[in-house]
């Protein structure tokens, strides 16, 4: 329950920050900005889904986390770590070949890491975790 509330607070803070960013930007949005916005909304949507899942579990009297969900989280962390390593190598490789500045590339890297975590979690959560 406590963790679900923390998830909602973090999601709300991210949404407020995005709102401030949109209202303060005077220039028209570039393709990269739109892409970043889509990824942020996807990640926040995912966080809200996790928060609601935890809340419904608490209401049903189930534990918010059990051994399977912890194993899924652990393996998700491992997978997304590997993906992130390759992502940063790819970003280092393309940094001289694109018109994006350093801040945008770092932003893209961080958003890519968040996205890779979400994708890895979705795969593992629906595929299951076996001791292969």
């Amino acid at each position: 329950m406590k963790r679900a509330i923390i998830v909602f607070i973090v999601a709300a803070l991210v949404l407020v920050s995005v709102g401030l960013w949109i209202s303060s930007s005077s220039e028209a949005f570039k393709t990269f900005d739109v892409l970043s916005l889509v990824v942020i909304i996807l990640v926040v949507g995912f966080a809200l889904y996790i928060g609601f899942r935890r809340l419904t579990s608490a209401k049903r009297g189930e534990p918010a986390e059990d051994e399977m969900s912890k194993k899924v989280l652990l393996r998700t962390a491992a997978w997304s770590y590997y993906v992130s390593l390759y992502l940063w190598v790819a970003i280092l490789f393309i940094k001289d070949r694109v018109t994006l500045d350093t801040e945008e590339l770092i932003g893209a890297g961080i958003l890519g890491m968040a996205l890779s975590w979400v994708i890895c979690w979705l795969i593992l959560n629906f595929r299951g975790v076996r001791n292969e």
């Binding site: 579990s57 049903r60 009297g61 189930e62 534990p63 059990d66 051994e67 399977m68 969900s69 194993k71 595929r127 299951g128 975790v129 076996r130 001791n131």
Partner: protein, 63 residues
Amino acid sequence: MNNRIKEFRARFKLTQDELAKKVNVRRETIVFLEKNKYNPSLKLAHDIAVVFSSKIEEIFIFD
């Protein structure tokens, strides 16, 4: 590793929700166990065996 949780659950007239509460896990975990998509820890296997008053090897079949 295969298991006979679904069969035992039907024999004991338990829903997935009820079994999940008895062994203190989420319902999704029972769903994944029955689909053979998750191998439980020794503790969970033991808890399930206790609920069904059976031995672990009667419920979980090791290939």
